[in-house]
């Protein structure tokens, strides 16, 4: 009897801990959501914690009627759907070559790629190189550098090395060359792990702001997250509302405010991720553990 009472106490602690982590993780998102759905005037009264008091979609109407956000959504979507498949193809081709033990200079090539994980030129020379390549203020600055990722290469290569070698050997005897073997035999067998790295790459593209913020000046090239940084910066310096805006707000009786706009923009940038990632869970758990085996 004593034993089960001990267990009961222990399990209460476990569930209490998990409930606390759940609240701390989930509630901030909920908080943002309800502020974005509340009218600005009412939000100013504070104490808005569980439910929108004065339901209003004005903030969403305001940001979605802004051309800037639609341009940003377009740029972000484009870089995600162009950049992701390119990265997956380039990384998987490299992984196949490096998985071949007969490759001439195989140790050298592996080191050539792995070394870049540990040492880099840093931001300033990188910027200069981009400038020399005319990639500043160029959409390709989003695509080209992210076509390569050493960590993903290790994951894919490990997976390919675990495939039965006989597949390759027999195809070679049948007269297939490396290209045919790669595209017809290896690639289809590698899809689960390619889905994993594809998902991580897509999320990286959707979430990235720094390259857009620093390497582009043209407002037509800004990504969604970079626009959000601008909104955040304006909030931080308190100059979000200029005079014209203030006059406009006053005439609208404060239907929106810097705060609610910021929350609505945050939600617009977050929702696609929150809607997609639970379905991809099994892939990234697999990818994480696969990568862990090696590194």
């Amino acid at each position: 009897m004593v034993k089960s009472r001990n267990d009961l106490f222990f399990m209460s602690f476990v569930y209490l801990f998990i409930a606390a982590v759940f609240v701390v993780t989930f509630y901030p998102f909920w908080n943002i959501l309800i502020i974005s759905l509340n009218s600005a005037e009412d939000t100013l009264r504070g104490n808005l914690y569980f439910w929108p008091r004065d339901f209003s979609l004005a903030s969403y109407e305001q940001i979605l009627s802004d051309g800037e956000i639609w341009t940003a959504i377009k740029v972000t979507t484009l870089r995600t759907i162009i950049g992701t498949p390119l990265a997956v193809v380039v990384i998987s081709m490299l992984s196949y070559t490096l998985s071949k033990r007969e490759l001439v200079g195989s140790r050298f090539w592996t080191l050539y790629f792995i070394f870049t994980m540990y040492f880099g030129g840093g931001l300033i020379p990188y910027y200069m190189v981009l400038k020399s390549l005319h990639l500043i203020d160029n959409f390709m600055v989003y695509i080209l550098p992210s076509m390569m990722n050493v960590f993903y290469m290790i994951i894919v290569r490990t997976f390919m090395q675990q495939l039965p070698q006989e597949l390759d050997e027999s195809a070679k005897i049948d007269g297939a060359n490396y290209l045919q073997i790669f595209f017809r035999i290896i690639l289809p067998l590698t899809t689960p792990v390619l889905a994993t790295i594809g998902m991580f790459t897509a999320i990286m593209h959707w979430n990235s702001w720094f390259d857009s913020y620093v390497f582009t000046y043209d407002s037509d090239l800004k990504t969604l997250q970079a626009v959000l940084v601008k909104i955040l910066n304006q909030y931080q310096t308190g100059s979000m509302v200029n005079d014209a805006q203030q006059a406009a707000d006053a005439s609208k009786r404060m239907a929106v405010s810097p705060d609610t706009i910021r929350m609505a923009a945050t939600m617009v940038a977050t929702l696609p991720i929150l809607m997609v990632y639970p379905f991809l869970q099994k892939y990234f758990v697999k990818g994480m553990t696969l990568g862990a085996v090696k590194s």
């Binding site: 993780t25 030129g121 931001l123 290209l179």
Partner: protein, 329 residues
């Protein structure tokens, strides 16, 4: 029986990897492998352009680069060589102490919270038997990992604002009389970064430990149960010792990354009132190198960081490898 036969047939296959090595010259092998090299080519070029060329560009840290002085690489031959002047400038300026202090303090505090939390979380998740509940909870716990720091910063600033939830709770409970301006208190910034890092990644980092836990032989628990061990005892004496090697390896690797205190968090959460405590190496490099136009200085500070981080990671990896071998044998 079947496996025995398989093993026997296997011995007749020549050792892998040796194929083609005997009897064919290097030239022949290269010719045979030209398609393999073709598959590697795009990655090779991308890595060359975006990783290796910038490394050569680090030469600018030893010169007086000016953006008006012609194309970047041709300037290497025309600009004045100043040796370690910029490094000297960095070490003797008051900034060095401040920036290093902030970087190390934020990294250390982040490890202090961020390292044990995923372990604790994994241990707790492991105790939950209800599959549906477990999956749902885990999905929610990964959530902060998949949002960008931009969104995370927006969320954190809102929660910590004077009209935010945290101040609501504190004033509601009578702990403080007036709302605390969390984001404007310098020394608090280190703790905010540490807690923000932990909040964002603990659920995701728990995956690694959960994988280690799932590899534990279930018979151990069966035996313990027969012996009358409580669940707490099982956790302390079976689960925890079993994941110890993983914990040690990850701890060593974490120390290797101590100079990578981050960029996004600090840059997005900071404001002018806390700069004294928020500036870390990476934000400092960006500020001086690109925003203030001191390109060579920024490159020098960046090189200092890369070099120290490189040495740290190498030593730490060697240590981790040694530990791995020890735990295996």
């Amino acid at each position: 029986m079947e496996s025995l036969m398989k093993a026997e047939t296997n011995t007749q296959v020549p050792p892998k990897g040796r194929r083609g090595r005997t009897g064919s010259s290097l030239g022949n092998r290269l010719k045979e492998q030209k398609l393999l090299f073709l598959l590697m080519l795009p990655a090779f070029v991308v890595t060359l352009l975006f990783s290796y060329v910038p490394m050569f560009g680090l030469y600018m840290a030893f010169t007086n680069y000016s953006p008006g002085g012609g194309p970047f690489f041709s300037q290497f031959f025309t600009t004045e060589f100043v040796g370690f002047e910029w490094f000297h400038y960095f070490f003797t300026s008051g900034d060095f102490y401040r920036v290093m202090r902030n970087t190390l303090a934020q990294s250390f505090l982040s490890l202090l919270f961020g390292f044990p939390m995923p372990i604790l979380l994994a241990l707790m998740i492991n105790e939950v038997r209800n599959g549906w509940f477990k999956r749902t909870f885990q999905t929610v716990s990964y959530m902060p990992h998949f949002i960008s720091w931009v969104i995370a910063a927006n969320i954190i600033i809102t929660v910590l604002s004077s009209g935010g939830v945290l101040n609501g709770i504190l004033t509601g409970l009578g702990i403080v009389d007036e709302p605390v301006q969390f984001m404007q208190k310098g020394p608090l910034f280190w703790w905010i970064i540490a807690i923000a890092n932990t909040w964002k990644d603990m659920g995701f980092n728990a995956i690694m430990y959960l994988a280690a836990i799932s590899a534990i032989n279930p018979e151990l628990y069966e035996v313990a149960k027969v012996d009358g061990a409580s669940r707490l005892k099982q956790m302390l004496h079976i689960t925890l010792p079993s994941i110890r090697p993983t914990v040690i390896i990850l701890a060593i690797l974490a120390i290797g990354g101590i100079l990578n205190a981050g960029f996004d968090q600090q840059y997005l959460l900071q404001n002018n009132t806390v700069l004294e405590y928020s500036e870390v190496i990476d934000t400092y490099t960006y500020k001086y190198g690109l925003q203030n136009g001191m390109f060579s200085y920024g490159a020098a500070v960046g090189l200092f960081k890369s070099a120290v981080a490189f040495i740290l990671v190498l030593s730490v990896n060697t240590l981790a490898k040694k530990m791995k071998e020890q735990s295996l044998f």
